[in-house]
Symmetry: C2
Subunit: 563 residues, 2 copies
Amino acid sequence: MSESSARPAGPRPVRSPRGTTLHCANWLIEAAYRMLQNNLDPEVAENPDALVVYGGIGKAARNWRAFETLLSTLERLKPDETLLVQSGQPAGVFRTHEDAPRVLIANSNLVPRWATWEHFDRLDRAGLMMYGQMTAGSWIYIGSQGIVQGTYETFAEAGRKHYGGSLAGRWILTAGLGGMGGAQPLAASFAGATSLTVECQQSRIDFRLRSRYLDEQAADLDDALARIARYTAEGRAVSIGLLGNAAEVLPELVRRGVRPDLVTDQTSAHDLVNGYLPAGWTVERWRAAQADPALHAELRAAAAASCAEHVKAMLAFHAMGVPTVDYGNNIRQVALDQGVADAFAFPGFVPAYVRPLFCRGKGPFRWAALSGDPEDIRRTDAKLKELFPEDAHLHRWLDMAGERIAFQGLPARICWLGLGERHRAGLAFNEMVRSGELKAPIVIGRDHLDSGSVASPNRETEAMKDGSDAVSDWPLLNALLNTAGGATWVSLHHGGGVGMGYSQHSGVVIVCDGSEAADRRLARVLWNDPATGVMRHADAGYEEAQACAREQGLDLPMQAQGV
Amino acid sequence: MSESSARPAGPRPVRSPRGTTLHCANWLIEAAYRMLQNNLDPEVAENPDALVVYGGIGKAARNWRAFETLLSTLERLKPDETLLVQSGQPAGVFRTHEDAPRVLIANSNLVPRWATWEHFDRLDRAGLMMYGQMTAGSWIYIGSQGIVQGTYETFAEAGRKHYGGSLAGRWILTAGLGGMGGAQPLAASFAGATSLTVECQQSRIDFRLRSRYLDEQAADLDDALARIARYTAEGRAVSIGLLGNAAEVLPELVRRGVRPDLVTDQTSAHDLVNGYLPAGWTVERWRAAQADPALHAELRAAAAASCAEHVKAMLAFHAMGVPTVDYGNNIRQVALDQGVADAFAFPGFVPAYVRPLFCRGKGPFRWAALSGDPEDIRRTDAKLKELFPEDAHLHRWLDMAGERIAFQGLPARICWLGLGERHRAGLAFNEMVRSGELKAPIVIGRDHLDSGSVASPNRETEAMKDGSDAVSDWPLLNALLNTAGGATWVSLHHGGGVGMGYSQHSGVVIVCDGSEAADRRLARVLWNDPATGVMRHADAGYEEAQACAREQGLDLPMQAQGV
Ligand SMILES: NC(=O)c1ccc[n+]([C@@H]2O[C@H](COP(=O)([O-])OP(=O)(O)OC[C@H]3O[C@@H](n4cnc5c(N)ncnc54)[C@H](O)[C@@H]3O)[C@@H](O)[C@H]2O)c1
Ligand SMILES: NC(=O)c1ccc[n+]([C@@H]2O[C@H](COP(=O)([O-])OP(=O)(O)OC[C@H]3O[C@@H](n4cnc5c(N)ncnc54)[C@H](O)[C@@H]3O)[C@@H](O)[C@H]2O)c1
């Protein structure tokens, strides 16, 4: 009996093995074995005892018995077998071949008519399903580095679009220092911008000061503006926090005629009970109202009214010509519902900044060192700089991440790479494994939020040029092609990011074990995967994607005929 | 420039090439090339000019330009390339490897919240989507043989369940001789039962008499009962048609205390305007009311009231202990809406008869002779009888089908085979291709309505034992595994059979080209594909499936631990 199947099933601290001793038949299987456990490492997972990795209830396995059985099944899996995982449980082992994925995963998928939280919850309670989020159930979450990097790319793209590629001497105005919003000041600094983040809870500011995601706190608005004036003049990318209510501070800035260089927001306006402090309320009154359902209606109304004022201020900045975007917290919708008719005059961050990247197959490429040795990641960082010597933006990120991002679980790195870049990185890493320059294999994956892997009409595929926002053929084809190409594991999920009914997406992970077979698979998969994103955007009529397809020599039969 | 890309895009008669001259790089690609065209053969397709194959608007390609580009792309596809097809258009060509599928298809998939006919129609009109039905958009439709065989299997399973395996001397009462219902009399005869089918239109009866699907017409109800008495006494499986209204005939039979051996119905009760003649109405009045929208409300009310009477009669038979089933035409729901509280007292045909087959991986296995030579099918028929010498039921079908089923398009055969049988058939066919016993390769596929390939809570997965009807992880895993195993083409569709929002399903096709590589692929794919169905039903708690899994040595990790 294997080590893990002998364990009783129940909460226990989980940590991926490190080093070069294999627990499975080969490194491809070992990689799944380690990354599944790494997702539940207390340094990585939000609530490991409940198997929750991140994103509310995004889990790595359905229950503890399923988790232990996943491990014991991987321990005995043969190199030509494939394990099927259905909503977090190991459903079956089948014979395939050595060039096929070792694990195929489907999480949280429901026939559309039944694709609601109500129905999901019923199945979840009955033990029949699990919410996989994106990288939780597909075993490639790497902690908060991902959100810092995504925000950095977004800010950097804004800099390219509006300010000739440099945010030096520019400042970003935003709010919210919560779980995800807390990445904003660090990302702004990485992107070279000064920033002012308004946050209504001192505890949140303190936490971000402690972890060095935020550089300093201003005493009041005048002090904040003075600091901004100084740092922008000096071209220093310092991040400033301000205790206050965004629904009060932003209108005041408008009144004073202050002109930021970029405006956004990451308060939790999507949740009017728990996420947005109404103007004029103390945090104590807010907490009390949250705790008392009888006060929810009043709280909701007050929060919505404040969101409307907040959005009106954003609209004023927008009208001044300041680039202004919604960061996916639904605040425009709340304002629209409050009668702010032009609430959607400024765009969401995906159409504004992320889509141009997606058009070139650019998205959140990430990798982890199965050795557990941080030195392996330092070497891959150096290798990337060597591979892409001209990419100052990439170098900047790698340098700053190396300095300021603490690893969580297995050492890992993320950076956004596009079509034509990812497979070069993968092949170079594989060569480093082969030559012994790295201590053990590298596992490469990405978020499901990527160029060709997601249909999510309220976020990643909002406002597609041809109106094809809801067409989910694309992520399904992405998963099928990655399976055909020989990725190490492939996943198809529903409901990640935006909840049940609102998205379908696929994940892919591939291992650099140093073999020549891996070279061939990496060359295919890390080319094809971003290429499906370029294809999808070219098909939707984006000229940038069509140009990229031509430059990279993609074979898109309908495009060739001139659509 | 290739033959097909030189053609102007527009309606033209399409027919698959026959014989052994290849138009593509190898037989795997040639098979997709021929089967796509075969789906649009005027003998096969319902409306080839509109690219419609069957099932309302189930199409083989999005438009004529997409169709011609599909052909020209297949003509130039290399043996290690894979073509992605997105809702009927060729979206991209990517490098994979020789053991990967040559074509990967996703049709009609929409993010759940937008998975409605309204949204689909908008995209369809904008040229962005196509309805793939099941085998229309996945290029393995073979005409009406499929429905005859499916109905035969259903009746035969009823015979096994209720009458010790023989329907000799038994009679089936049903109604409806339309597009699908017209298969009932022939299927009943094949299954060894006498049958009485009530049909309100003489033209429909005439058509089925002409095509020999129906043996004879009774003059009136007394005559019909006399014939039934005679044929059942003689043990002769004769099919009898009766001109009449089911909502009048069935209640009359109940009044007379007549006792059939099986009761079902295939009037189009799902469509109360076009599908169900109200009691007391002439066909002329019905047609006039259909043509005049102002009369639709009245027609709908009258039809619904008649359906209620019809179901009450079925309930009376059910109460007498006569096996009674709904054949997927929604008549129970109509009656329930009319206040017939116990309308769902009798089951649907899937839980009653098809599910036990699915539990053993049994479902609609089909194949076509790429040579175009009917002799190739005769030889495969003979081979199957040789492979399964004990299976009298299979022999009966093959003999009768050989005699009475006319080929449409490329000669093809269907029969239901289960786990452990399908791969044996595939390997035997491949050997026949290799030895030259067959003139050209054979292509093997199945309907998406199969054991492991569909989630459709109103039909194939209605009333699953554990309540997992709507969980669509299973068909997605099926498609991923078939891709990993090396099927020749794999498809993922939404909305087949029951419409937008109500189903997700996958298709698979694999080619016997006589090679040893094909042997390996066939052994994997034709084992794994039905095995996912046994897995899915075992997971849902069906003991028959759990027993089948044990007998066949399936590796189901959670089952091994005793769920
Ligand atoms: N679409 C995306 O990819 C994406 C990415 C990041 C964040 N978001 C969205 O951004 C929002 C924030 O996410 P989070 O995880 O950081 O949430 P969170 O709830 O952890 O943090 C929200 C923060 O906003 C503060 N806040 C609330 N009301 C305020 C007010 N009136 N003035 C100033 N501060 C206020 C709270 O104190 C809290 O610290 C969410 O709506 C999230 O969905 C979306
Ligand atoms: N679930 C399945 O897999 C499955 C399989 C086969 C058929 N069906 C269902 O069965 C129904 C029939 O399918 P079809 O393609 O044959 O439809 P169709 O519309 O072509 O045929 C219906 C026939 O019923 C006759 N009819 C209508 N009202 C009648 C009445 N009151 N008395 C007697 N005859 C009457 C019509 O004249 C017509 O010939 C549909 O609802 C279909 O969805 C379901």
